[in-house]
Every structure is written in C-alpha cells, then in structure tokens.
Point group: C2
Chain length 212, copies 2
C-alpha cells in the first residue's frame, strides 16, 4: 500500500449537505484535511488568513497562475478563487487525504491535472428531497431558484465523470460511506503505481533469468 | 440503490490463490454465485453436467456463438470454453453478483461488452512471494515455468484496465476486501444509471416549471 494521501474532490447538488458532511469527516478522522483556497476578495469580518482563505492581491494571484502554482482556479463576481498547489502537495506527501469542495467544472479540471484524484458527488436521497432543497421554503427569489436549478441540471449532466455517487440521507452513515469509498479507492491501479511498477520490473528480470 | 447484481471478473497471477479466494467468498456470502462455463471437452471422471461445466458439442457451441449467446469464449487445446449469457443475466437480474474467474484477455472482452462489470486483479503480497509461486518448488519443468512467467508479464502489462488490485496475503482479510470493494462499486455512476436518469428527468421537469 502506498502511503501518499488521496486528493478528494467533493461536489454535489446545492443543498446536498456537502459542507456539513466534510466538517463531520474532518472531525471524525485525522487523516483528512481541507484544502484552503486563495482569493483576491477582501476578508469579511472575523475571517482569518490561512483559516477561511489565504488572502492576496490580483498581481500575486496572476503570478501564481503563471507559474502553474494552482490546482484549479476560477473567477467569481470579479474576484479570483483558487487552490494553491503547494499546500495540497505537502499534505498528500505527508499521507493526508486532502478535500476540495468545488463545483463540477473545477472538479473536471482537477481530474485532468491529477488523474489519481477521487471525485465524489453528493446527492439528496431522492428527487422529492432534491426539489425541497433546491426550491427551498418559498422564501427565496425566483431568480435564485432558477440559477440553482440550471446549475443542478448542468451538474446532473456531468455526474458520470465522478468516481462515486453518495446519497446523503443520514449524516453519520454518509460520513462512513465516504471514508469507506476512499479506502476502496486505494486499491485502484491509478493509485498503486509504485506497486505495479515494482511487480513489472521484477517479473521482467525473472523472465529474463528463466530464458537464459 | 439498484438491486441488480454485479458481474465480477476475477483474474490474477498464477498462484495468486484466486480459486481458494472465490470459494471462500461463495461460502461466506449468499449474494455471490460462480458462473458455470460451457465447454466442448469430454467430461472427466466425476465431473457433473451443470456443476463443473455445461458439456456440449462443437455444433451447439458454434450456434451459441452465432446467436451472441456467450459473454466471452476462447479455444484451448482444440476445445471451446465460454460463459453462457443466459445463466449470467438470470442471476444478475435476481440480484446476485456473478463471478467469472478468467484471464486477462477474456476479462477485457467482458468489460467491452458489459461496461458495468467489475474487474478485480489478485496478486501475491510482494515480488518474492510472486516468484516463489511462479517458479514453484523446483519440481516443475522449465517449459511450464517459462509459460507461466510470460503470461504473468502479459498480465502485469494489462493491470491498469482493472478496477481494483487486491493483495492476497491473508485469505480471510482478502475475502472481506473483495466484498468491501464490490459494495463500493455499487456507488459508481456506471452502476447507478437508473438513479441518475431519474434525477435528470425530474430536474429537467422542475427547471421547466420554474421557467414558466
């Protein structure tokens, strides 16, 4: 078993409870850490550098893009948001599983760059529940609901690109399920490259020995 | 969760202990059945129709090939060997996981035909153990060892096509690991098609409702 951590991308429908799920996972198991994003937006009251975000300016952010220092990034409302590579790779090398909570477009970019990352999509247990969570309690504007809905449609179109779909019905069970899936994922060839290389090398030298 | 069974292909290096592993899995959990092959070879002493094999003649076997009635087939020493579709599909429909124990070429053919099948590759824990099992106790001919070795090299080249690699170190643990991986595999999108289709359909109709 290789001891490097796994990069885990968690996405899911609006209202699927990803945030709660991730917090519960972090609390329960030491081997997970949350990736901290870098942003150019101004800190809000109470936000601390290196806790909620790494705060920076546009110049430094664009320099970081230039030198390929981000796992992924996006612009939103005129600000940059991105995942610094250095922190992620440091944690993975230390054997910790790093969680990114990002939407589908970002998830696909990460998979392209890190084929060994694990994509998990979180969904409510059924369509009735999904509707309830998307539409809300009738207190939200039609515009917000429309936006959420079209995003959910887009997400549902891309779900085949994910490694696993988990149903968030009961929080505790869902946390266990994610932990279970991460352990299963360690057995995929893409995450056992060293083991495979070792076997191949040895087999070739054995085969050579037998031929002589 | 869909209730259909999963088609599981188990391959692995010669001497990896696949046979023992599969028998232990079948004994421990009711939800697994072993696929029974059809062959044109003559039954050996004690072999029973429908237990070790379904025995048949070349004409019937070739008819079965013609009407696409086999999951996969191969010729070996002048005889046909193949996996009848009817039995496999019946068992899957009844919610049982069907195990095929076949080599890599067959495994790849099955994956092409059944993209939702699960490919598991079994390996000894390390190269020393692999060597011991391949070379044996010095009682076997150089020809047999050469053959095994070149097959193992071929298998090691194709291992990336498998979903999971499991290390057969301790039998009991390895049985549990396979059972664990099969359960994890149920969360992959390729095996949750109905659930995904259901969500998509409902989302589209919800989105339409919001637009109006």
């Amino acid at each position: 078993m290789e001891q490097k951590g796994i990069l885990i991308v968690i996405s899911g429908f609006s209202g699927a409870g990803k945030g709660t799920l991730v917090r519960a996972l972090l609390k329960k198991y030491d081997e997970y850490v949350l990736s901290i994003s870098m942003t150019t937006r101004t800190p809000r009251q109470g936000e601390q550098e290196g806790v909620e975000y790494f705060f920076t300016d546009r110049e430094h952010f664009e320099e970081t893009i230039e030198r390929d220092g981000l796992v992924e990034y996006a612009q939103y409302c005129g600000n940059y948001y991105g995942t610094p590579k250095a922190y992620v790779e440091e944690q993975l090398a230390a054997g910790r599983n790093v969680i990114l909570e990002i939407e589908i477009q970002g998830a696909l970019k990460v998979k392209k760059k890190y084929p060994e990352c694990l994509l998990i999509f979180v969904t409510p247990p059924n369509v009735e529940e999904l509707e309830r969570r998307l539409v809300g309690r009738g207190t939200e504007s039609r515009e917000i609901i429309k936006k959420r809905m079209s995003r959910a449609v887009e997400e549902s179109e891309g779900v085949e690109a994910y490694d696993y779909i988990v149903v968030n019905d009961r929080l505790e069970e869902c946390v266990e399920e994610i932990h279970y899936l991460v352990n299963a994922a360690r057995r995929a060839p893409v995450r056992r490259k060293e083991f495979i290389q070792g076997i191949r090398k040895e087999l070739l030298s054995l085969a050579k020995g037998v031929q002589e």
